[in-house]
Symmetry: C2
Subunit: 230 residues, 2 copies
């Protein structure tokens, strides 16, 4: 799924509530309508939208009622800072054949030795271990992001110290984010190539930047420290 | 910020484009309007909304132009699966005094020994190391989520095997997610307390669940495996 599409979907409070309900268990239209206090017509139009996006699907029971459920496993991450805006969406395919294999093997053994009921309790405690590890990783990620932003701040201070003019400032900032071409720099800074080029050459002479040629294009990047130390 | 508020904001394509522009560098209204091909009136109303939410702020230059920039560091995570819907928002406070300290100390040394220009290149290569670590952690997180979903699937299969009726199925599923009270179970399953209670007692007698008392309330939970193994 396109991350923009998912953000559009999540931008509506009632759609978020529907997803939350369905993540708890499959529901039919009048059930959702009752829980949310929203008319069935509006619920149906939200459900259609969610279904078209592939986020939900339905099955029909004996009474011909449509039960809707979440059809997908995905994880969306949006990070906003003064220096960056990134949106990533991971679609997590369910390939139980591969990952579940060891447990299935273990299970066959388990049913032989102990009751299958205790196998369930074993699985549930493993599930909670995984939850703990997920929390730990989320913490690591948070610390890393703080460190990243702090480092970015130091870089910005440092750029202001070494740049001779505002154009150099902007060029160093762009190159700090990633290596790039003259054309891209002209587009993002909205400056004439001659101005950008003159500044790039000056920065290169002072040992800050260098270029490499890929696919017949010059890519400018910051120098590696090791090579530049006198 | 309330995560729902941020999702409302990000649910609009033009607002996402504005955030993307400002994350690249501060801009003024006519600049944003020109880049997006959207009238200044609409841009101003989006900017007001973003400002009220605390996501952006502005400074005024000599020509009295308002320059808008991102005011915040945040990370939003939305995870959707057939078993769960979670939204978390981390506001990352910038406390450069604390984390930047070691680098500032190092910098004073650095300026003495080597030129401050090389200090910048050093910072930038550390920044890229941090980026690599961020990618590694994102990968770990992805693997963990796959494992979690697989484990959840195995748990669901196992629940279907051991449950005597659909109510037990639902109860075990609820308790798999977290420990909970009779009242909460009645609310989420929409069943009469007497039915829920009878099933809880039966499950407890079969060694699947147990309760503890906290704040004068009975909390039901799945048994730990160790204690239950015969």
């Amino acid at each position: 799924m396109d991350p923009a599409k998912l953000l559009d979907i999540l931008g509506n409070e009632n759609r978020r509530k529907i997803i939350q309900l369905l993540a708890n268990r499959p529901c039919y239209v009048s059930e959702i309508s009752g829980r949310l206090g929203v008319g069935p017509k509006a619920i149906i139009s939200h459900l259609n939208l969610l279904e078209q996006a592939g986020l939900i699907e339905y099955s029909v029971d004996e009474q011909r009622r449509k039960y809707f459920n979440i059809a997908n496993n995905m994880r969306l991450e949006v990070s906003v800072s003064p220096y960056s805006y990134t949106v990533t969406l991971q679609d997590i395919a369910l390939d139980r054949e591969i990952i579940g294999e060891s447990y299935v093997a273990e299970k066959k053994e388990a049913t032989a030795i102990e009751e299958s009921s205790f196998f369930f309790l074993k699985l549930s405690s493993r599930l909670h271990e995984l939850e703990k590890r997920q929390e730990e990783i989320a913490q690591m990620q948070k610390h890393l992001q703080v460190e990243y932003i702090e480092m970015m701040n130091l870089c910005m201070d440092s750029i202001e110290e070494i740049a001779k003019n505002p154009v150099e400032c902007e060029l160093l900032f762009e190159l700090l984010k990633s290596e790039t071409t003259l054309a891209t720099l002209c587009y993002s800074l909205r400056l004439h190539p001659s101005i950008i080029n003159a500044n790039l050459i000056d920065l290169a002479e002072r040992g800050f930047i260098e270029y490499s040629i890929k696919n017949n294009q010059h890519y400018w990047r910051l120098c590696e420290t090791g090579a530049e130390n006198k």
